[in-house]
């Protein structure tokens, strides 16, 4: 069970959170100018990194605030936590463990 550092409440058990998947996905607009492929990519195409990835989580059973975090999919190591709206966090170069 992950220990997730909520930026507002501090470290809490994973069971208090919900993962909203990949973060920093740009919603294509205006709708009239979005082609089928671009819309499909927005809906369905996701990065599947082996290593660090940026995700958005919500402290659903806590402060109910959304935030971003960088999690390594191999080790679950959480490298960074930062607010919604902040620019994407730098991801360290791939390092073996």
């Amino acid at each position: 069970m992950l220990l997730i550092p909520c930026p507002w409440c501090g470290p809490r058990d994973e069971t208090e959170f919900r993962c909203g998947g990949q973060s920093h996905i740009q919603r294509p607009e205006p709708y009239g100018a979005v082609g089928d492929q671009a819309w499909s990519d927005y809906l369905f195409t996701r990065a599947n990194p082996k290593g660090a990835g940026r995700e958005r989580w919500v402290h659903a059973f806590g402060c109910r605030q959304w935030f971003n975090l960088v999690r390594d999919t191999r080790t679950h190591e959480i490298a960074a936590v930062y607010p919604m709206g902040a620019p994407p966090a730098e991801i360290a170069a791939e390092t073996g463990r």
Binding site: M1, L2, L3, D13, E14, G20, R27, P28, E29, P30, Y31, V34, D36, W39, Y42, L43, R56, V58, A60, R64, Q65, W66, T75, H76, E77, M84, G85, R97
Partner: protein
């Protein structure tokens, strides 16, 4: 094998407290402090079970959790527990246990026929044999024959507990290394949790000669325990097994609280600790390896350490004439212990041609004949050991009479938990074992678990891992470090077992090799090696070494399987803890719950709420009650508790803009004081919720969601606000449970409302449909909505939740002259089905778009909204999509079954749609139904056939939704 109890000794037992118990139907006695295994050994019981596949008689092999043979069923009745290892069961008075996997008894077992045909049932036998015509034909009888023990089918009467703990340091294992770590951290003032699976702290110090800090081992352990118990922030748990290591330093520890001795106590039986620690020290020790030779599974063949441990802790002597067979130094201690106990050590066979001289000399000084370069090639005796055949290096064989064969094939560090953390293992060729290599952050592995078999080294390692300063606890008078040799099997004919629990032999491995199941994970599944409760504790490394030998790859390259939790089997009840039955998922009760009970409500759960399905009364079945309630609404008036309806306040300067984006229809054009029905979609363009939204003020809305969607929709709005449109100045506040909603519905609803007392005009002109007003009802501040789920004039009266009961009473009293009836949710749903009103989640599914339910007009909006772009995907524009329609049975008044498929005359599709809502309409005197039909709106009047379910073959006519009052005249009255 003829075990016995020594006249004196045994550090764990209390001879003043004899205990009676039965095993396999026979009565025995033991002492307090015994395990079931030590008591059986001392009582001279040699056969404790039958093997899984061949039903061979088996005796005790080990003294701890790794015991593969002595699997027992404890007690009968609802508290029956199966697959418990006799080595882990603490004896109590009246204990009744029986071996599993044998019938009628372990001594005489009918299933032993399998041993006679064993050459016809090798590894993979089932996979190869029961293929034709279909495995499913054979599965039931095979499943019946397989398995270890039978569980109780009645509810578990025991209680279970759970606890969350946070600490600076968690130490797993209370042997010398673990104690050193715990002492070091505890002295630094850290919060420490120590978990030891045994009933006593001390680990190997309980049975192996040790001097620590000048004290005899047991005395040092007692002093350490006293210190830990006195430390305010330190918790030392015994009978507590760390069963799994999980992410971010979380560890599950299962603590056994009461054994069966305390059967009627209301105390919980097990407690699951969920420990989160800053640092974790794994001091899990090591497990001795069997040697691989023909007949190594005969009762009387035991691990040398188990023989020694039984002597020292329980004064249980496993046999009178012992042969010791080893390939390393550790078993020499067992020889000394046996001699010390007065047993005869017939010979010590050491596979190594030149064992360390000091060891040999010390053994010989006590009269033990050491035979280097000699190995056991066969064992004899039925059912238990009576002799062994040995072979010298030059091939000469000879027989030794013995009722005990104590063996040691080296040691495996107990790396299970370490492996679960993701830690990598490395093959140590010098000691012939796998040990931790790459460490995982936050973890340390110390002592024998890290292949440190010298006491001094283990103590120092533990001390340092605990953060200790200064000198660690010091071991003195220790013998020289152990030496080991490479793993090797004895090459001789006969069944040589690798995995005792799953009956996997050397021949099975050779077969797997021939059939190319050489990867460790394939090998495991093909041969069943290392499966089931045992998880390969004694077998894995021997098997890997053999596979390495067979393939010529080397052990390091062969690798190991990943160890999975739990380390030892855990009762399911422990994971449920206290969250069972009613507490598994607590149900929410309506604010006026007690009033519904008084009114005779039959409760059911809807979306987590306990709601009245209908109100029972004498002389009516539930379905009759539903019809009466529905008719009351159509002809008079009904009172319905709609409190679970989702209510979310959305406020702020940008509230209207926000709602324009989250609703498929516009909300910014709504006037203050008015309400509007709306649909919400997700980005796929799928309808996810509906409800009526009211504009309370220019910058304030009350969003209505379905009862089941209340929490989900509030979270949905928050997500869009926080993640996508943070620049919108809007606040979202769920207020569902602060308000109760009582709805009067029916032609006489207005009369009842007026009779109850209302301080605002409620006539149709002053208060039209789809408006709301603030006022007082029966003296209570209320917000009244004129919306309708039934098609009749309705007043939804919102009041503070704590006024619900009072208002209920007042409305019922005022309505009595008008014949008001409480109406349950079943009648409420029937009324909306009659009217053809959509019920999101019942009539819609994960593919329903607004156009499918008659809301194609939202595409005319120029404003963007969630899901907007998806609605113009080609798939969304097709005309043969499933569309929401009414259904009328031709030539019958009986209602349809929900879910029945419908099929038209033409077309290639197997189904043209299905029934989504249905019921018997008392006002129409016939069944009414709604459904989703392919291209349904263009098929009005067409007859379809019911293609599945009880009405299969019946004909239904497609209609517009809404069988009753299709023009909606009654609504506005």
């Amino acid at each position: 094998m003829s075990g016995s109890r020594l006249a004196e000794g045994g550090s764990a037992i209390d001879r003043s407290r004899p205990l009676r118990f039965t095993f396999d139907g026979r009565a025995h006695t033991g002492f307090a402090g015994d395990t079931l295994a030590s008591a059986l050994l001392a009582a001279g019981v040699s056969v404790v079970g039958r093997s899984f596949k061949y039903h061979r008689p088996r005796g005790l092999l080990a003294a701890g959790v790794e015991e593969p043979n002595a699997l027992v069923r404890l007690e009968d009745g609802p508290r029956t527990d199966v697959n418990l290892r006799a080595t882990e069961i603490e004896l109590y008075d009246g204990l009744a246990a029986a071996p599993v996997n044998c019938w009628p008894s372990a001594r005489f077992d009918v299933g032993a026929i399998n041993a006679a045909i064993s050459r016809f049932i090798p590894a993979g036998f089932y996979y190869k044999t029961f293929m034709w015509p279909d495995w499913r034909w054979f599965e039931p009888p095979i499943r019946r024959a397989a398995g270890l023990g039978r569980i109780s089918t009645s509810p578990d009467p025991d209680r279970y507990d759970e606890r969350h703990a946070h600490c600076d340091l968690l130490v797993v294992g209370g042997g010398p290394a673990g104690l050193a770590a715990a002492l070091a951290a505890s002295r630094r003032g850290e919060r420490v949790v120590l978990a030891e699976q045994d009933p006593a702290l001390g680990g190997a110090a309980l049975w192996r000669a040790a001097t620590i800090d000048g004290l005899e081992g047991a005395a040092w352990v007692a002093r350490a325990q006293a210190e830990l118990d006195a430390a305010p922030e330190t918790t030392a748990l015994v009978r507590a097994t760390a069963i799994g290591c999980f992410d971010h330093n979380s560890v599950a520890v299962l603590e056994r609280l009461v054994d069966r001795r305390d059967r009627d106590a209301r105390r919980p039986r097990l407690r699951l600790w969920r420990v989160r620690a800053r640092r974790i020290v794994l001091a899990t020790g090591a497990i001795e390896r069997p040697l691989v030779f023909p007949g190594n599974d005969r009762p009387g063949v035991m691990l040398a350490s188990a023989v020694q441990q039984n002597l020292e802790r329980w004064a249980a002597l496993a046999g009178e004439a012992a042969v010791i067979f080893t390939d390393n130094d550790s078993a020499y201690a067992a020889a000394h212990a046996l001699v010390g106990a007065g047993a005869q050590v017939v010979a010590l066979l050491d596979r190594r041609p030149a064992p360390p001289k000091p060891l040999v000399e010390a053994a010989e000084a006590r009269g033990v004949r050491v035979l280097p370069g000699t190995e056991v090639t066969a064992t004899h005796g039925a059912p238990a050991l009576s002799a062994v055949t040995a072979r010298t290096r030059d091939g000469a064989t000879f027989k030794l009479q013995a009722d005990l064969l104590a063996m040691s094939g080296g040691w495996n560090p107990a790396v299970h938990l370490f492996s679960q953390t993701g830690g990598a293992l490395a093959w140590d060729a010098a000691q012939a074992l796998f040990k931790p290599s790459a460490m995982v952050r936050g973890y340390d592995v110390v002592g024998a678990a890290d292949a440190r078999f010298d006491l001094g080294g283990a103590l120092e390692q533990g001390w340092r891992a605990g953060g200790g300063h200064g000198a660690p606890p010091a071991a003195s008078g220790e013998a020289r470090p152990w030496t080991f040799s490479a793993i090797g099997r004895v090459a001789a004919p006969g069944k040589a077992f690798l995995d005792f629990q799953n009956d996997v032999t050397v021949d099975d491995l050779a077969l797997a090799r021939r059939e190319s199941f050489v990867s460790v994970e394939h090998l495991k599944r093909y041969t069943t090696l290392g499966m089931a409760p045992d998880q390969g504790k004694t077998s894995n490394v021997n098997a890997l070494a053999l596979m390495a030998e067979l393939t010529g790859r080397g052990v390091a390259q062969t690798g190991t399987t990943r160890f999975r939790p739990p380390y030892t089997p855990a009762a399911f009840g422990a994971f449920g803890g206290r969250m069972r039955g009613e507490l598994f998922r607590p149900r929410r009760r309506l604010p006026a719950h007690d009033r519904h009970i008084e009114a005779g409500a039959v409760f059911e759960e809807y979306g987590g709420w306990l709601r009245p399905a209908c109100y029972a009364h004498a002389g009516a079945t539930p379905s009759e009650a539903v019809r009466e309630e529905a008719l009351a609404v159509r002809r008079g008036v009904g009172l319905f508790d709609a409190s679970p309806l989702g209510k979310i306040e959305v406020a702020g300067p940008d509230a209207a803009e926000f709602l324009d984006r989250v609703y498929a229809n516009a909300m910014s054009t709504l006037k203050v004081g008015r309400a509007r029905y709306g649909l919400m979609l997700n980005e796929l363009g799928v309808v996810i919720d509906d409800g009526v939204t009211a504009r309370l003020a220019e910058d304030r809305f009350l969003v209505g969601a379905t009862g089941a969607g209340a929490a989900r929709i509030a979270a949905w709005l928050e997500e869009w606000l926080q993640c996508e449109w943070p620049h919108l100045d809007v606040l979202v506040a769920p207020v569902t449970t602060s308000l109760a909603v009582l709805t009067l519905s029916g032609p006489k609803a207005r009369a009842v409302l007026e009779a109850a007392g209302v301080d605002i005009p409620v006539d149709a002109a002053a208060f039209p449909h789809m408006a709301f007003r603030d006022g007082r009802v029966a003296g209570t501040p209320a917000r009244i909505f004129r919306v309708s789920f039934t098609g009749e004039v309705s007043y939804e009266i919102n009041v503070a939740a704590d006024r619900a009961g009072e208002l209920w009473d007042r409305l019922l009293a005022a309505g009595r002259p008008h014949g008001v009836r409480p109406v349950g949710i079943d009648a409420w749903m029937l009324l909306r089905t009659e009217k053809g009103y959509l019920h999101v989640g019942a009539d819609t599914d994960g593919g329903t778009a607004p156009g499918d339910v008659g809301w194609g007009h939202v595409l005319k909006r120029t404003h963007d909204f969630i899901g907007r772009r998806s609605l113009t995907r080609p798939a969304n524009l097709r005309e043969d999509r499933l569309q929401f329609v009414g259904l009328e049975v031709v030539g019958s008044s009986a209602p349809l079954t929900i879910g029945g498929h419908l099929k038209g005359a033409g077309g290639d599709e197997p189904s043209d749609g299905y029934v989504t809502s249905s019921g018997f309409s008392p006002v129409l005197g016939r069944g009414v139904a709604l459904g989703m039909v392919r291209g349904g709106r263009d098929r009005l009047g067409e007859e379809l056939m019911v293609a599945s379910g009880p009405e299969r073959g019946a004909r239904v006519r497609v209609t517009a939704p809404g069988a009753y009052d299709p023009t909606g005249e009654r609504l506005n009255g």
